[in-house]
Symmetry: C2
């Protein structure tokens, strides 16, 4: 199958590697972005050819859009305008409602499948693309009832060929949950990095004092601003609710520490410990009821 | 060397394994805490005997105190009262100023070395003790000028025998830095866990939607409340400063998201990205000037 990929960074590039390995991709076309990116994409054999957006639209049986979420919402209608009646388009953005709304009434809506493969690292760009990024991970297909049966079937085949299980939910539900289990983590980590850099700017050797706990908590602060700033804007309402709850909980523990209320602090930390059960169940791949 | 360990959990138990392996410990005595802990300590061969605090004080050449920081401040003066003039006492607590102040004027102050080996996991208790926890990590010795030369020399030998380099600083400086590079990370993670559990309590299957980013950020929320609540109290002033800066930065990004100011949000995330340089340098074991 001839596959066009628009956005050959961490996710698009890793998908290219996996789709080639699975045998699903017979030829991969990448959309031109910059000279530097073209060089890396060809050198790393992410794609066979780097071509224009129009060439991709006219020559691919399947198109995967893997650019930042605000760019997806802008490019997707153009892509649908250009494709033939047989081409299927999949996006892999981390927010879904604004993207789905952008083409809600497009005559070719049924040829599009809104997806979110939940996988990634804190790195970005075509050099960050890796093999096996998706193996054993979960993919979410949103508003599947707005896509044709064949398009959804192809999307499921694409993600299962790279080792993922797909589940379905509405774009609205997706955005509400991801605000808590992904977007808030990123904000928490970005701002933790910033806070520590702010305060310790004159004494950077103190980072040598940081243990593995700090590195784990601050890892996501390395993530791409070009990817994440648009996600925060596109999922604004859900993120503001999550962020306000988080700030409220931080104020609560701040006040308990200030009052030296060790018993209430312990109670609060014990409650937070319950996340262990949830994560351990997840590791066992048990769906928690 | 006959070594007594008071507190055979994650840190004390792991030290026992490593000190035995290094050959430095010829015999290890553990302080009795509970029947259950005694069973595990003997079963896992963490110690040769489980005895009373008094027996440890009268029979050890080196005593390591590895209980929660508030318990260290209480036990340490009693231990110093009981030991002979030749015994050296080391603590391994994550805060240092209150502990050092607790025995500042004790006649045997010079036999005590305040230490903080920066190593750990999110697990606790004697079952969490592991081999090689300290290999390649950093140990901090605080207020070394208040300890005798021989005591500091022995402490350095102890930590180097388990694979650690020791550096020196004041207890005050230690507590100020650790508030940022360790204690704040833990608070951030505990409260993130709590926030997500609060909101998603009726729909726990959504944790299946969480990627590795969430797990990394929330890992420390599994940590022991008995260990961390006292740390937060003992380093109250530094932690409140750090926590208020963190809350301020979270309010800043919340307001930028609310105003949909994508450019300023990107600028903020780009600044946070600088943590990458710092952590990469750390990985290379380069001391950053």
């Amino acid at each position: 199958m001839k596959i066009g990929i628009i956005g050959t960074g961490l996710i698009g590039g890793s998908l290219a590697f996996s789709l080639r390995k699975s045998g699903l991709a017979s030829e991969i076309l990448a959309a031109h972005y910059s000279e530097e990116e073209t060089r890396v994409v060809l050198e790393r054999k992410i794609a066979d050819h780097v071509v224009s957006l129009e060439t991709i639209c006219l020559n691919s049986e399947l198109i995967i859009i893997a650019v930042p979420v605000n760019a997806i919402a802008m490019i997707l209608p153009q892509v649908l305008n250009l494709i033939s009646a047989k081409t299927v388009v999949i996006d892999v953005g981390s927010t879904k409602e604004i993207i789905c709304n952008a083409i809600k009434h497009h005559p070719k809506r049924k040829q599009f499948v809104a997806s979110h493969p939940i996988a990634g690292t804190e790195n970005n760009g075509p050099n960050a693309a890796i093999d096996n990024l998706f193996e054993g991970k979960l993919n979410i297909i949103c508003d599947a009832e707005d896509s044709s049966y064949d398009a959804v079937e192809l999307a499921e085949k694409v993600f299962s060929s790279v080792g993922m299980n797909s589940i379905k939910m509405s774009g609205n539900e997706h955005d509400r949950h991801l605000a808590y289990v992904s977007h808030l983590s990123h904000i928490s980590s970005f701002m933790l990095g910033l806070t520590v850099l702010d305060i310790e700017k004159d004494e950077r050797n103190i980072f040598n004092l940081a243990g593995s706990g700090f590195e784990s908590t601050v890892r996501l602060a390395k993530s791409s601003s070009a990817m994440w700033a648009p996600i925060f804007m596109e999922n604004k309402a859900n993120i503001l609710t999550a962020l306000n709850s988080y700030i409220g909980n931080l104020e609560l523990i701040r006040d308990l520490i200030n009052q030296e209320d060790i018993e209430e602090t312990k109670t609060l930390l014990d409650k937070a410990n319950e996340v262990r059960k949830v994560l351990d169940n997840k590791e066992k791949n048990t769906l928690i009821k």
